[in-house]
Symmetry: C2
Subunit: 266 residues, 2 copies
């Protein structure tokens, strides 16, 4: 078995909750880095840029350069830039996603006759006008992709509707199915993360709080799957889930101990 | 077999298309009325009041009082007024629906903690704010009903997203299913129509252009089902549909001849 050399860390529910770091997170990350482990942070949220995330982590006590953060809008923009360079794209999404697409050389477009790709994303500015533009483009044969599959996004004191609402509204009205969803648990997210780390899947551990995204992605892509109990999924949820973690930790604070244990066996 | 004494006529695609009467529609309706047949017009659209529909029919050449028109917002408002008089309701819908609810004595409410019923409807002013209010109310246990199940609404030169988009967005984000949809093909629509006519189902004919709403509703509720080919469903669609009409006519202009044929057999 290969030594463990890298960690993919989910952000919300794993490293922090809202504006508060999970206790011990800064020390755990610092200790792993001291041991030479490479770390990349992952988020499914297309609401912020990787720079925003890097700044937030740094501000909360985990100094992080922006190229050690991957989120779904970045992965989607890179996918489109590779598959369909310069394509005309209409995105139901917020400004940071639009800027990401623009930076990737794609052409933002609102004319259903000319749109080649419709992107469904988490969008707190979603409205009927956007729904109808996307609908008309999809009826005319545009491709249909999405940033992330999440039903809801946790916020202070609860949760709010996420990208699944936009995807479902388009699927129900057009009769079409979304063709590709780029965020966790997709392989595209893993590939982007491993590229940043410069490691192979079997040298890496994925740590996250959601069985159906974080743990599923790890298990489907040959990573060691670690569930942390500081977020959405609980110990009890494991029993009814199709996705079983390889290890369960109470919080990210236990990660240095798990790292030692894993590497002693190898 | 009972004599045929009443007709339930779908509007868009059956009596008119957009602002144009189907050729022969005015004459057919006048002839049926001359024979003493009672007529009620049905629409799934919650965008207009029954007065709007009556005025449009009258303007196009079919003089009609407003109580001979039934649409999904009226049926929904009456249902709520009966089942939960004075209930606190949040509707994702346009002004005519809100006014209908208000006239029925319901309390319009935007506070998720207090909302008892969430109503999903066709709404060209749908936005994330409304989606989130409905989402929060549904997460807190509010009932979940809808005006109509249509995926799309035909408009001049094409179609636009209908209530199915709103229903799907709420279902996908809350994980709940809509409990009741009031418009065609629901029995509530039939009951409201028969009440207006003062007739029983077996004395009535339903004429419409959609197999999955008009014809389905007729077959499930003991009405004679007549498909007219001036709208959405075609002769070929019948083969693949679960809902088979009892009779097919090229257009509503053939209705007086069919009425004679049906009554001669009885």
């Amino acid at each position: 078995m290969a030594k463990i050399r890298g960690y993919l860390l989910d952000l919300d529910g794993t490293v922090y909750r809202g504006e508060r770091l999970i206790p011990g997170a800064a020390e755990a990350v610092a200790e792993l880095r001291r041991r030479g482990r490479r770390i990349v942070f992952l988020s499914n949220k297309p609401l912020y840029s990787r720079r925003d995330y890097a700044e937030k982590l740094t501000r909360l006590g985990i100094p992080t350069p922006q190229d050690e953060v991957i989120n779904s809008s970045l992965v989607l923009a890179r996918f489109l830039a590779r598959e369909a360079p310069g394509a005309r794209v209409f995105a139901i999404g917020e400004l940071p996603l639009l800027l990401e697409l623009c930076r990737a050389g794609l052409e933002l477009c609102e004319d259903p006759e000319r749109i080649q790709y419709v992107v469904a994303a988490f969008d707190r500015t979603f409205d009927y006008r956007k729904l109808n533009i996307a609908f008309q483009a999809l009826k005319r044969g545009a491709r249909f992709i999405a940033t992330n599959p999440d039903r809801t996004c946790p916020v202070e004191g609860g949760e709010i509707p996420d990208a699944a609402g936009v995807i479902a509204a388009l699927e129900a009205t057009t009769g079409r199915k979304v063709e590709l969803v780029l965020g966790k648990p997709s392989e595209h997210m893993v590939r982007a993360a491993l590229e940043v780390l410069g490691l192979s899947a079997r040298e890496c551990v994925m740590v996250g709080d959601r069985l159906e995204t974080d743990i599923r992605m790890a298990k489907e892509n040959g990573l060691i799957a670690v569930l942390t109990l500081t977020g959405v999924s609980s110990q009890e949820d494991i029993g009814t889930s199709a996705w079983k973690p390889d290890h369960v930790i109470e919080s990210i604070a236990e990660l240095p101990a798990l790292d030692r244990e894993l590497n002693e066996r190898r």
